[in-house]
């Protein structure tokens, strides 16, 4: 088992890791079961909310082995384009800043995602309150 990603392990400015997720039919089907009013068209871009899903899936893969109990504090998204069904999204996660506030430990992660042929899809900053 790899070392746990505790707060002290993150280095500001450093790439934490990268991973990929494909906008597969099962993924879209799962989305549509949870949000049946937001079923994507057969062709064209997927619902924008799937960006959160893709980001969180890549985040889970890159940061496998986190302390339990982290909380999502805030989020910024900048969309350039929405992915299409079947497209593979490559995402990378960088530690942007670390800020202790009282007993709470805040970490800002910068997330960037590209799609087919390296086309820009979206970037984001997620602020997490780290549990340990």
């Amino acid at each position: 088992m790899s070392e746990l990603y505790v707060y002290d392990r993150f280095e500001v400015g450093k790439l934490v890791g990268s991973s990929s997720e494909t906008v597969s039919e099962p993924l879209i089907g799962h989305w549509a079961r949870l949000y049946p009013w937001d079923v994507p068209a057969e062709s064209g871009p997927v619902p924008a909310g799937l960006l959160s899903v893709l980001m969180m899936r890549i985040y889970q893969t890159v940061l496998a082995g986190r302390p339990p109990g982290n909380i999502h504090g805030s989020q910024k998204f900048v969309i350039t384009a929405l992915p299409e069904p079947g497209e593979t999204v490559d995402g990378s996660l960088r530690c942007l800043s670390k800020t202790p506030r009282g007993e709470r430990r805040f970490i800002d992660f910068e997330f960037s995602a590209t799609g087919r042929g390296g086309r820009a899809l979206f970037t984001g900053v997620m602020t997490m309150i780290w549990a340990a």
Partner: protein
Amino acid sequence: MNTNPSNDIMKLTPITLQVTAEAILAYAELTNDYNPIHLDPEFAKTTAMGGVIAHGTMSLNLVWQALAQTLGDAALHHGVMQIRFKRPVRIGQQVTARGEALAEAPGDYAIWVESEEGVRVIEGTFKRSMESLA
């Protein structure tokens, strides 16, 4: 889906989700996020949240749906969303995404997700790019 890219829509179409344990589990499966604060009542009780909370992005996704329903997908391109998760969402709550145009910034929206009691659990802004407003 409404694809009207009009700049003068004042309010977003509200989108509502009933938060259940089943929905939280389905969202955990969708995102691979099995953080026990979302799924394990015993563990969640020991945290500052004091109990199970729903994934923040599960409710945030309703905002994207409200924006797309109202403004069309094209309006989201080059858009910037910035939000804060202000309060935890619990099992049994019904949450609704809403938004309204900012008078001081045409084309931009105040966005939020609120509980049935009108308490805001997510709050922020969505700023449309000049390209999407053209």
